[in-house]
């Protein structure tokens, strides 16, 4: 995952990258593993600037799926601080640039929610539900959006 140039650049540009190794830093792994309930590797946590977890990835993912989840995580960080414009931008980036990744349906859902939260316009949710009739129809996220039709 990490040798991928796109992934390395995305992480470097958007986060302070930190790593705890299960064996080489056993004491830290136990301490921070307990604090953040991380009991398996790889587990990647997205922490806001106050150290609060806002998203996580558990288990290995191929590069495109991992990069998509990095974008989703950045979107969730923005969403949970109330910056819905930035959140929508991150989620939409997944749909636009990695449409075949596993993260894309989730990103399409949250892009719609972010647009609604930022605008207050319920039409954003209807448009998202309609978008799920055109792609990602079989995803869990399509089911979640179906209530907005």
């Amino acid at each position: 995952m990490y040798p991928d140039e796109r992934i390395a650049r995305f992480i470097t540009e958007n986060f302070i990258p930190a790593r705890v190794h299960v064996k080489d830093q056993a004491a830290d792994f136990q301490r921070f593993g307990e604090r953040y309930n991380a009991q398996w590797t790889p587990t990647v946590l997205f922490l806001d600037s106050d150290g609060v977890e806002r998203h996580r990835i558990e288990g290995f993912l191929p590069n495109d799926d991992f990069l998509g989840q990095l974008m989703v995580g950045l979107g969730q960080l923005a969403f949970k601080r109330g910056d819905f414009t930035a959140a929508q931008r991150s989620f939409q980036q997944v749909v636009d640039t990695l449409p075949r990744s596993d993260a894309a349906p989730e990103a399409q859902y949250w892009a719609g929610v972010s647009r609604y939260k930022g605008s207050g316009d319920p039409a954003a949710l209807g448009a998202t539900a309609k978008a799920f009739t055109e792609r990602y129809q079989d995803s869990t996220w399509a089911k979640k959006a179906s209530i907005w039709k």
Partner: protein, 32 residues
């Protein structure tokens, strides 16, 4: 491009607060 992973987690969390920047915390078993 190599990622400059940091391992001083307490310091990272303090720096994140000061810099208002999020942290990507990787719990890993991969060779270092």
């Amino acid at each position: 491009m190599n990622i400059a992973w940091r391992h001083d987690i307490d310091r990272v969390l303090a720096d994140a607060k000061t810099a208002h920047k999020p942290v990507l915390l990787d719990f890993s078993a991969a060779p270092m």
